[in-house]
Amino acid sequence: MRRAYFKNNWVAAALVAPQLLIIFVFFYWPTAQALYWAFTLEQPWGGGNEWVGLDNFRSIVEDEHYWNSVGVSIVFALCATALSMGMALTLALAADRQLRGYRAYRVGMIWPYAVAAPAVGLAFRFIFNPSAGLMSHLNAIWPGVWDPILDGNHALAMVIVAGAWKQVAYNFIFFLAGLQSIPRSLVEATAMDGAGVLRRMIDLQLPLLAPTVFFLLVINITDSFTDSFGIVDTMTAGGPARATDLMVFKIYEDGFRGLDYSGAAAQSIILMLLVMVLTFFQFRYVERRIHYS
C-alpha cells in the first residue's frame, strides 16, 4: 500500500499545528492541572495547596454516594445506548426499504442532532411534567402513577429517554449509510431465495452492519458518560435523592457549587480513566469479532 508522505515537513507541521494546539489547550493542560489538584488540597480562592497524595482518591472510593453515581451512570449508559440504537436501527431499516415518505424522513431525522442537550432537557421536562405535560393525562386517571419529583426510578427513566432521543439522529445517519453500503445484489438474492423482511434483517443486514454497530456502541457509551450533563442539569439536577446523580454531574456539583476543587478533580481523573478503559476494552475485545469486508 502506498503511504503518503510529505517532502516538506514544515507544511505538515503547519497543517497539524492548529488541531494540536486546540487539543493541548482544551485537554492536556486542564488534565495536567486536574492531576495536580487531585493529589493536593486546593483552596478555592488560591493561596494554599497541600500535598495529600492519594487521600482524595481514597475518600472518593470510600464514599457510598460516589458508587451510587457510578451505578447510575452505568445504568444510564447501557439503557440510553440500547434504546437509542434500537430506535435508530428500526428507523434506518424502514428508510432503507424505501417505504413511503422515506426521502422526507431521511432529511428530517438528521435535524434533532442539532438540538443542544439543555434544550432537549427542557423540552422533555415539559413533556414529562406530572401535572402539565403529556403524562398528566395518565396522572388524571391513576393519581401518582407518574411522579418523577419524588420517585427516583421515574426520574432516571425520564433522563434516559431524553438522552436516547438526543442520540437517535446521529445513530440513524450511520446506520442508514451502513445499510446502503450493503450491495443491492445480495439483498435481492436473498429476497429471491424467499427470505422475508425479518429474515433478511436478521441474517443479512445486521451481520453486515456489525462494524457500524461496534463504532456506534463506542461513541454512544462514551457520549452518555460525558454529554449527558446538559440533560441532567436542566431536568432533575441530580435528584430526587441522588437518583439521577451521574458522575459527570457530581463533578460539577462538588467542584463548582460545593467549591471542593480537589475532590472534583480527583473524580474527573477517575471518569477520564474509566472512559479510556471502556474504549480500550471495546477496541481490543469486541473488535476481534467484527469482520470488515
Binding site: Q43, W45, G47, D151, A241
Partner: protein, 443 residues
Amino acid sequence: MKLSTIAAAAGILALSGGAASAEPIKFEYWYGLSGHLGSVVQKTCERFNASQDAFEIVCVGQEGYAQAVQNTIAAFRAGKHPTIVQAYDAGTADLMMSGEFYPVQKMMADYKIAIDWKNYFPGIANYYASSKGELFSMPFNSSTAVMYYNIDQLKAAGVSEPPATWEGFEASLKKLKAGGQACPFAYAPSSWVDLEQFSMAHNVPIASNNNGYDGLDSKLLFNTTLHVKHMENLKRWKDEGLLQIRTSQGGLNARDSFAQGECSYYFGSIASHATVNAVAKKGLHWDVAMLPVYKGVERHNTVVGGASLWVLSKKSDDEYRGAAAYLAFLATPESERFWSENTGYIPVTRTGFKKLMDEGFYSAPPYKGREVAIESLTYTEPGPLTRGIRLGGFIQIRKEWMNEIETAFAGKKTVQAALDTAVERGNAALAKFARLYKGKALP
C-alpha cells in the same frame, strides 16, 4: 486664510482636549441576583453613575449566587476579577478563610468615608462581621423568612389570627382541611427556612462552637435538637394531607401556589413580598406574619439570608476609592428607599427603617407587612446561637440535608435516620474544610 482657520481649529481642539474632564475611573461589580431583582440592581448602578462623574461602575449580572461565586473565583485566579462581588451566605466561609478581601470597615476608614457602623441592625451586621465585630462585607439585600397566609381562606375556616405557635398552626391546618381546602399548606423543603431560620427563632444550635463562629472544628448538632421533632411533624402533616409538596419541577412552586390562591400558607423570604404582589390572583387577601414557635419556647431573633457586598483584594487604589464611593452611596437613605420600594428586601440600617416608618411607607399596600421581617430580625439582641452561621462547606451541608429530607419524605427512611445521615456527611464536609485551611483560624 485657510491655514489660519485650520490652525485655529486645531488650537481649539487641543484646548478642549486638555480641559475635558478626566475619564471616569471604571471598576466592576458582579452581582448574583437575576430576573426582576437583577434589573433593580442594574438601576442602582445607573443611579450611582448619574449621581457623580468621578467613577463609573460597571455591573455585570451573573444569573445566580452560585454562578457569581464560581465565576469570581475563576476570574480571581486569572487576575481578572471584579472589585465588588455579591456573595451569598453559603459562599462566605471560603472567601473569609482565603483572606482575599478588603474589610469594608477598614476600607471606609482608610478612604475617610464616615459610616455609622452602629446604625446597622445587629441581626444583620453580625452575620458579616469578624469575631471582634469588625464588618467584613457591606450588608445589602437582607431578608428573613416569614409566614405568608391567605386571610380570606383562614377566616372561612374559622381562624381569625395567624397562628403564633406551631401547635396553633397545626390546628389551623386541620380546620382548613375540614373546611374543604385541598391544599392548606404549600410546602417545599428548604434548609434555610426549616433548619436555619427555625433554629434561630427557637434558639437551638445548628452546630457546635456557636454555629461555627468560635472555631473550625465544629460539628453539626441538628439531629439532636427540636429540629427533629419539627421535621417529623412536617412529614406527618404530609402523610395526613395537611400539606402538599409544591416545587417548580412539579408545576407551580410554593410561592406561586399561594399567589394563585390554591394554598393557604407558604413560608418564604420577605424578598418575595414584591413578587407575590405582582403575580397574585386578583382579589387575593394575604399578609405575612413571623414564623411560629413551639409552645413553651421563648422566641428569639431570626437571621438574614440574602447576600452582602465583598470588596476583593489585588485591585488598584483608584478602584477601591470608587468601590468605597459606591458602597457609601448605597448606604444613603435615598438608596435604601429605592431598594425597599422596588424589591421586597428590608432596609439594613436603623435610621433607614425609621425614616420609612415615619413616612408611612409600611402602612399601606403594597409595602404593608414587610416590617414584620424587621420585627422578626430584631425580636431579641443576637445571642451566641443567633448571630448567624459560619460553617465551611455549607453548600454541601445544605445539599446533604435536602437529599436526606427528600428520602425521608419519600418514605424510604425515618426522619431521625435521615437527619443522622445528613449530620454524618455534613461533618465530613466540615472536616475537609478544616483540613483545607489547616493552621488558619477564622478571622
